[in-house]
């Protein structure tokens, strides 16, 4: 077959289709593209690609590296025509083919140039076929941005205008500088047609100032024992249950559930938020860091603060642009932003009280103005401190590392940090295979932690070490502490009490970073969590000792997994992996389980868990292609319940679409969950039977909640798009599902009056 391909290429060359064809081109000979294409490609890349693949082509999360050894490992033996075909068919993610042919050829030219290929005199075309290793060296050559075209000055003027008019507490700070795509510049420049027809302005800043009277400050005691009708934090209680003690809505009357009100949230970007409810006010975060307060009964807007910056691209955003949870304490609401800021806003007015940045706006070397440190997981408020995790934690060679940090809720002053990467000489520091400290990366925390007040301990999950493939990482069989671990920290000091590494030396983007659920059974104080590999873990949360585990979906990554000890043994070809080798991974990066969090239904001791069933082939640079998980009959989604006490399976059902929300369960024996194909449903917690469904405008995505106002129980949920593997995999695997690229909304359901 390889001979056949070679013959085809040769024939194409002879026919003059590929000017460079298969002719011998010396190492690092002039590339099959022009400097003009590189310059144009630089701008096109900035507009369409840099958001995910990063300005220096280093890649992040689901976006593979496009420069350096990882790129060359994957592409050196393939042709420029194949690279063009791949990019034109699949990029931008979810919108393959949406750019012009010129833009695609320019982008390929730019990528080759950054990888050391030299511009020549012949223009690159879609059929130009030359082996990439024959022109590119993989030595990264960052290229200075081309001078802005005349047409760009308008955007600059708009930028200046926006900054001038933005209020002091708006986005007129360093991070809010509109960068990147024309769309981002237009959005930041308030170019949205808004000639005064909307009462709510689309300009950034405090667009509607609130005047909420008789607001009840949120106390530590309220956070420890939330009032039944309120939702004051991410998973409602410190233990991470997402369980509401409300029971007006029952299996008997849920069929009559009806829409009470809805609210349209800002479009574009990534929406995965948990609404909060206190004192009859519902708080919600929208894309562009738009924070809004609404009357929870009527849906009336009470205040709005558009913190900015707006999404960088039109349409659904990547997995780095969301936040999942805000927090309430005193008279403030606390918001972390994907750009790494933490804000305290007055919950009564929306005015900014304080603002800080988790890395003090430390710039990324060669980051084109980007800052080290983002935050997508949300916050948890403990003892008057705002605790927040971190993403975007540096690259190999720099001295940045991920940490969890805590801020005085009154002032924003940083109280402590806990670095999630163990360095040389520290406990766990010998688990990185001798890597220099500046090459130990990863350990992001992209889900807010939980808290046990009785021991004053906060529990967080961490993501895998980076790069995620161990062949690139260079850490050998090292466990890479404290990546893919549960860390137990003193909530007042951030000091480590214990850590448990669930997947030592993880290598296929199978994070163990998600929710930590705290459950007591008599004297047993346990912590339950489940990661992308689909293993439900139970630990003693006092000591970190392994108590048990249960596999929830098929997996082939571990050749051995001992449910009695928790020890995992990787498949041999994973241990022996090479950068240019495709590896099968079941589950793939969609999980198993992902950010769609478990609910603990206390009355039945049931953990109700959204699960996904897909597999991937993965290349060293992170390139992936997908297939259905064996034995699933094409069902990507699964919702399963396990008894927390002994991990006994209770019930489970599968469906074609994965679940894209967390679960909320109620004392009324109902669990609510939404899916990729727009269905929001109520399930009987006792047997898994679906009792009520409704079809919403687009993917039901976020964290549903239940609350009470005016003596009546309500259920709230958001629809929205954007995100990483949980969106990307089913978008390709479930071709029959048709969804609009818009429809970011908040829905509130209740029983008839």
């Amino acid at each position: 077959m390889r001979k056949k391909t070679g013959l085809l290429v040769t024939a194409a060359t002879l026919a003059g289709i590929g000017l460079w064809g298969a002719s011998a081109v010396g190492q690092n000979a002039a590339g099959p593209f022009t400097q003009a294409q590189v310059d144009a490609g630089h701008q096109a890349y900035a507009d369409a690609c840099a958001m995910c693949h990063l300005p220096d082509l280093a890649g992040t999360n689901d976006a593979p590296a496009l420069a350096g050894s990882a790129f060359m490992g994957a592409w050196k033996n393939r042709s420029t025509a194949q690279l063009y075909s791949k990019i034109a068919a699949t990029m931008p993610a979810g919108a393959g083919g949406s750019l012009s042919q010129k833009q695609y050829t320019d982008i390929v030219s730019y990528i080759l140039a950054v990888n050391g290929a030299k511009a020549g005199t012949t223009a690159f075309t879609p059929t130009t076929a030359v082996t990439i290793a024959s022109v590119a060296t993989g030595k990264v050559t960052l290229i200075a941005a081309p001078k802005p075209a005349a047409g760009n000055t308008g955007a600059t003027a708009q930028t200046a205008g926006r900054q001038e008019s933005a209020p002091a507490n708006g986005p007129g700070d360093g991070n809010a500088q509109p960068q990147g795509s024309l769309f981002a510049r237009a959005m930041a420049g308030a170019r949205i047609p808004d000639p005064g027809r909307f009462t709510v302005s689309t300009k950034p800043g405090l667009t509607v100032e609130g005047n909420i009277q008789n607001y009840t400050p949120v106390t530590d005691e309220m956070l420890r024992n939330p009032p039944d009708g309120e939702w004051l934090m991410y998973r409602r209680n410190y233990q991470g249950w997402s369980y509401s003690p409300l029971d007006q809505i029952t299996p008997e009357n849920v069929k009559s559930l009806q829409l009470k009100w809805m609210w349209s949230l800002p479009e574009n970007g990534t929406l995965e938020i948990t609404p909060l409810v206190h004192d009859g006010i519902l708080y919600v975060w929208g894309t562009g860091n738009t924070v809004q307060a609404l009357d929870a009964k009527t849906g009336e807007l009470l205040w709005e603060n558009r913190l900015g910056p707006p999404p960088r691209q039109p349409g659904p955003g990547p997995s780095t642009e969301e936040t999942r949870a805000m927090g309430l304490w005193g008279t403030n609401i606390y918001v972390n932003t994907p750009q790494g800021y933490v804000y305290a806003l007055d919950a009564r007015t929306g005015k900014q009280v304080w603002k800080t940045h988790i890395t003090d706006e430390k710039p990324i070397p060669n980051g084109n103005g980007a800052m080290f440190g983002g935050s997508t997981g949300g916050v948890i408020i403990i003892n008057g401190r705002v605790l927040v995790g971190m993403t975007n934690c540096g690259r190999k060679g720099d001295d940045n590392h991920c940490y969890i940090s805590a801020y005085d809720a009154k002032t924003g002053k940083r109280d402590w940090i806990f670095r999630t990467v163990a360095l040389t000489g520290e406990k766990g520091g010998n688990t990185w295979g001798g890597l220099p400290d500046n090459e130990r990366k990863g350990g992001e925390t992209w889900i807010a932690g939980t808290y046990d007040p009785s021991s004053n301990t906060t529990y967080w999950g961490t993501a895998q070490a980076k790069p995620w493939r161990r062949d690139l990482r260079g850490s050998g069989d090292g466990a890479t502490d404290y990546a893919n671990s549960t860390v137990a920290l003193d909530a007042d000091t951030g000091k480590l009490k214990w850590a448990y590494n669930h997947a030592p030396g993880e290598s296929l983007d199978l994070d163990e970073v998600f929710e930590r659920v705290l459950v007591d059974h008599g004297g047993e104080k346990s912590l339950l969590t489940i990661g992308k590999a689909g293993i439900l873990w139970k630990l003693d949360r006092t000591t970190g000792k392994f108590l048990g585990a249960k596999q929830t979906v098929f997996q082939n990554v571990y050749a051995g997994f001992d449910e009695k000890t928790g020890k995992v043994v990787y498949r041999q070809d994973i241990k022996d992996q090479k950068v240019d080798q495709w590896l099968s991974s079941c589950p793939g990066p969609q999980g198993g389980h992902d950010w769609q969090a478990t609910s603990y239904h206390q009355p039945s001791d049931a953990l109700i868990i959204p699960l996904s069933q897909s597999c991937v082939f993965m290349l060293g640079n992170g390139s992936q292609t997908y297939f259905e998980m064996p034995g699933t009959d094409g069902n990507n989604g699964r919702l399963s319940a396990y008894r927390a006490r002994d991990l006994k399976p209770l019930w489970s059902f599968q469906q074609r679409s994965p679940f894209l929300t967390g679960v909320v369960s109620t004392k009324g024996n109902l669990a609510f969950v939404g899916d990729f194909d727009r269905v929001f449903r109520a399930v009987d917690t006792r047997n898994g039977k679906t009792l009520w469904t409704t079809r919403l405008g687009t993917t039901v995505q976020g964290y549903p909640i239940s609350f009470m106002v005016g003596g009546k129980q309500y259920i709230a949920v958001t629809t929205g798009l954007g995100g990483g593997s949980p969106q990307l995999k089913p978008s390709t695997l479930l071709r029959e599902v048709k969804r609009p690229p818009n429809g970011y909304n908040l829905f509130v359901f209740g029983l008839p009056d």
């Binding site: 077959m1 068919a89 098929f554 070809d573 297939f627 064996p630 489970s652 059902f653 390709t732 071709r735």
Partner: protein
């Protein structure tokens, strides 16, 4: 003890053909899918397999492939979800929908592979790429597992439900 048991099982598998009748099934799904291949790869299928002594009889249907089937085969696999070598060819309808069938004599090792979820069915088609970086072309595939109950989409199962990890006798 585990090692000894494994060796015994391995030896037994190598020298003995299966002495029991068993039913297997799989649901064929598209592979591999990304935004580049999804235009030429698609469809579904269902396959059952029955053993009688060392004879394996395979029957199945497929539908909705973007182009006509060219060949169908059975492959061995190091573990479910990891591709491996072709060991048998099957008869297949040369169309986008149709049937597959075949009767095969299994060696002891192949029978052991069947019992442990390490055989899979694959159908290739005209428009699928000639090859993938990790191996030969394919359009639909599915691993043969012991016959199991599938309740249907959205229908809950209680206490126990099929999970290849547990329901394949050994790995």
């Amino acid at each position: 003890m585990t090692f000894k048991f494994g060796m015994l099982a391995l030896v037994a598998g190598l020298i003995a053909a299966p002495a029991f009748a068993a039913d297997y099934q799989t649901n064929l799904g598209p592979m591999p899918l990304d935004d580049e291949t999804k235009t030429v790869i698609g469809g579904r299928g269902e396959v059952t397999a029955t053993t009688d002594g060392n004879t394996l009889t395979v029957k199945g249907t497929f539908r909705d492939m973007p182009s006509s089937a060219t060949e169908a085969s059975i492959h061995t696999s190091p573990v479910a979800g990891v591709p491996g070598a072709q060991i048998f060819t099957l008869d297949v309808t040369k169309a986008s929908s149709g049937t597959i069938s075949g009767t095969i004599k299994l060696t002891g090792a192949q029978a052991q592979a069947l019992r442990t979820g390490k055989l899979y069915v694959q159908i290739n088609s005209e428009k699928a790429p000639d090859e993938y970086p990790w191996g030969p072309k394919g359009t639909l595939w599915g691993w043969l597992f012991p016959k199991y109950t599938y309740a249907g989409p959205g229908v809950p199962q209680q206490d126990h439900w099929f999970l290849p990890q547990y329901d394949v006798p050994s790995r």
